[in-house]
């Protein structure tokens, strides 16, 4: 999806505001929004990329202006409405029509388990990886409607495989509800190959990219 969320390399953004940089939450509402979102979402185990894609589909100006966890919360609510776990009428009136049909909501013990158990996105695949470190590759020149994790600034660009990371669940498919692993690579790009004004710079930009985003050069 070519949306406003795809911010990498976009120009016209000004100085970085470091206010509140040492507060874990900078408002009480921010803290509550975070907690509400993770308490709802994890319980249902929707694919993370469906969450990301649902966030990308919020109004572009809301995306660029609203507080971060406020966006997460609206995303979790949108997902719940989409899945039929909540209705727009309930949100508009603030009154539940009925109790949730789901089992008991996430408990503090569930939270503790999530806080200490890392999720893994790696899966076994039978195919061998197509690329080895050192290989030169070119990224796809287009995105597509729907979720993707190939940012616009790195499309149609030549880079070098620096590592194979195993096979990970493919996000473009995950956001469509399909569990499909694919080989994942870390690819290095010369900054000057992505941004013309950086020609000759020693800097490199690294992205973790799935095999189907890449073609051999």
């Amino acid at each position: 999806m070519d949306g406003v969320h795809d911010l990498g390399g976009k120009e016209g953004f000004g100085p970085i505001d470091r206010a509140h940089e040492d507060d874990p939450y900078h408002t009480e509402a921010d803290a509550r929004a975070y907690a509400l979102c993770v308490s709802m979402r994890a319980e249902r185990a929707y694919p993370v990329d469906w969450f990301r894609h649902t966030r990308e589909n919020m109004d572009p100006v809301d995306y660029l202006t609203r507080p971060y966890f406020d966006q997460w919360l609206q995303t979790a609510i949108a997902m719940a409405i989409d899945a039929g776990d909540l209705s727009m009428v309930e949100v508009a009136t603030g009154k539940p029509d009925s109790l949730a049909r789901t089992p008991a909501p996430m408990s503090p013990a569930d939270v503790q388990a999530m806080l200490t158990t890392p999720a893994s996105f790696e899966r076994e695949v039978s195919e061998a990886p197509a690329f080895a470190p050192g290989a030169r590759v070119r990224t796809a020149s287009h995105g597509h409607p729907g979720h993707t994790r190939l940012p616009a600034y790195a499309r149609g660009a030549a880079g070098e495989i620096v590592a194979h990371r195993g096979a990970h669940l493919m996000p473009d498919d995950g956001a469509r509800g399909i569990d499909r692993p694919e080989h994942l690579y870390t690819v290095a790009f010369a900054r000057g190959d992505l941004f013309p004004e950086a020609a000759g710079s020693p800097d490199r930009i690294h992205l973790d990219l799935w095999e189907s985003y890449l073609a051999a050069i």
Partner: protein, 212 residues
């Protein structure tokens, strides 16, 4: 029920939510909390557990402890660079987004900088909540295109020949920077060293070399 996985449908739901919810963020959150609790979708005790975890227990002090240990223990440093997920688990810090963690090491010739341009992914388990600037449009837009300009705003000035390695963590790998140990800290123990390590140094927007 199951999600629709339909982009147009959720975009339309967002537009309705935009018009049905209070425009002020704090009121919006309050209204939704009350509804979700009453509906039975969330347990208030779970909310408190999430908030407290990232207020009290989980934060950049964890990452700082990891860095300090890597500075004093070369075997640990080697394990951290080889498999950061296992190395932080060894210290009891396994958790959210630490499953595919990579540590990238600053050297005399390479400075590392971490960003997520697509959505602000971050290694929560070892750095806690991301600072607001990390999630802001400005940092996400500029870090890949103008890393030197961004670093200059953070007071970090590099030699022109120093290579900046930017890590745009848009997949499920998460990155932490292993900064260079500050000069003049030879006598310090792990605890004292950890106190020198800033969260920004582990993202790459701070340079500890001159601080001691």
């Amino acid at each position: 029920m199951d999600p629709s996985f339909d982009s147009e449908k959720v975009a339309e739901i967002h537009r309705h939510l935009h018009s049905h919810l209070p425009p002020e963020p704090a009121l919006r959150v309050k209204a939704l909390e009350s509804l979700l609790v009453e509906k039975g979708l969330v347990d208030p005790a779970a909310l408190d557990a999430w908030i407290e975890a990232y207020t009290e227990e989980i934060g950049p002090k964890r990452g700082a402890a990891v860095v300090a240990r890597a500075w004093v223990d070369s075997d640990f440093r080697a394990r951290l660079l080889a498999d950061a997920s296992a190395a932080v688990a060894e210290m009891g810090f396994a958790g959210q987004a630490s499953g595919h963690l990579k540590a990238v090491e600053n050297t005399d010739t390479v400075h590392n900088l971490v960003v997520c341009t697509l959505c602000s992914c971050y290694p929560f388990a070892i750095l806690g909540m991301a600072p607001p600037w990390y999630k802001a449009n400005e940092y996400r837009a500029r870090a890949v295109r103008d890393p030197r300009g961004v670093l200059a705003e953070f007071g970090v000035t590099l030699l022109p020949e120093t290579r900046i390695d930017v890590w745009d963590s848009t997949a499920e790998l998460r990155y932490m920077v292993l900064p260079q140990r500050p000069a003049g800290t030879d006598g310090m123990d792990e605890t004292a060293l950890a106190a020198l390590v800033t969260r920004n140094a582990m993202i790459g927007t701070d340079d500890l070399r001159g601080i001691a």
